[in-house]
Chain length 218, copies 2
DNA sequence: CTTTTTAATAATGTCGATATTTTATTACTG
DNA sequence: CAGTAATAAAATATCGACATTATTAAAAAG
């Protein structure tokens, strides 16, 4: 375990709290409040907040402190649309470049997702399901072999988190989950068959369908 | 003019200094040194450095301070490869979505670049040329209309800056500049003709050729 | 009663100081 | 003389305190 300074620790917690919605969109982030919650002084806090500003999760106004970035339908559409295109790019490259270990990783992640999905849904543990879900998609795009592209992808995934949580809650115990699961099977088949255009079409749909559901919720 | 705090001011200067190569790749960034140069205390400095860490221009090691991110041939290839794909994506969308104002903006930027290129090359003002160059390409991709995609593009452009400076210096007064200029004319023609695949092929080449030159320099 | 002005309260941004940790130097030992 | 241990020097990370600025509340004027 890497020894982290308090700025790094508070960054991690603060980021989770913003992404999970503990701090609502647009909410003011007062120093006194944050000091209390994370048990650190202002300087590590300001470092963490500065980093979240670069990640576009927090806004800063000179002499007026920090606040959580607002959400909007326009941003939702843009993020999901861009994600769909980037993910498609990653998938195409991964199919071109992926080797045996890549294929095995996909099968393993798909198995883990499928075998735990029903239980986690019954428990209502949406975050655990989302983690397995994300690991499955990550196993696919990992084959693209581009650090930069994967970083861009991760950034967009994180920026989408606040919107995705709405979708997860809305669809808890809903039929959309089963549809989602079916799409995974189709995707695995297309990817392992090295069918680039089919895989890209499937993965774009897989991302854009939740976007359309969310547009009606905002 | 927006009133900025010292962290924002020092961030701007420090970023420029890293991108321009004033601080070399891998170099240790000592606080005493930075305090002297930017005339601020450690806390605004740490905020700025924290942001540069997120931008992947600076690395941090716990209790061992900050240093400029190293450069490598592998990173160069990855950045330029990814840039080529993202730029291609932007260009395709821009051609699909661009309107009259977009076309006019491209013609204007191309004109400004072409009319100043010879003079700036003679003066050896490579940075001014690069600025016009970048404004030209930005005028094209602006038509894609996606804030997120443009942000990703800008991030990759900035990450490529340190490598690009090598290319600029290497090609000062060289024939490659004229080839580069010719590629712009072809690109304008293809874009205004709304020929997506031709435009994408041209812009990919336009980015990848310098990458191949640079691979021999590192 | 609304608007403006003034006072108070609170919050932000920066610095200097300090404890802790790393790095460099010197001394020691096999 | 190389390698290691002890010491000295330097650098980092954090806090508390203070000056500046924004926000809120109260008072005064129209």
């Amino acid at each position: 375990m890497p020894p982290e300074n308090s700025a790094a620790k508070v960054l991690h917690h603060l980021k989770q709290d913003v992404l999970a919605g503990y701090f609502e969109a647009g909410q003011k982030l007062k120093m006194s409040q944050l000091k209390e919650r994370y048990q650190v002084g202002v300087n590590p806090l300001r470092e963490a907040l500065s980093q979240l500003v670069v990640m576009q999760l927090v806004q800063v106004q000179d002499q007026r402190g920090y606040r959580v970035c607002p959400v909007s339908q326009a941003e939702l559409i843009d993020i999901y649309d861009t994600r769909a295109r980037i993910e498609s790019l990653c998938v195409g490259l991964a199919i071109e470049r992926g080797d045996d270990a890549w294929e095995a990783g996909i099968v393993a992640a798909a198995y883990r997702l499928q075998s735990n999905a029903a239980l986690l849904q019954a428990n209502g543990d949406l975050q655990a399901w989302e983690q397995l879900h994300q690991q499955f998609h990550h196993a696919i795009v990992l084959g693209c072999g581009s650090t930069e592209l994967l970083r861009v992808r991760l950034h967009l995934y994180e920026k989408a988190s606040r919107y995705r949580n709405l979708w997860l809650q809305h669809n808890a115990g809903h039929a959309a989950f089963d549809v989602n699961q079916m799409e995974h099977e189709q995707l695995v088949t297309a990817v392992l068959a090295r069918d680039i255009s089919a895989s890209q079409a499937l993965v774009q749909q897989h991302i854009l369908v939740p976007s359309q559901v969310l547009q009606n919720l905002l």
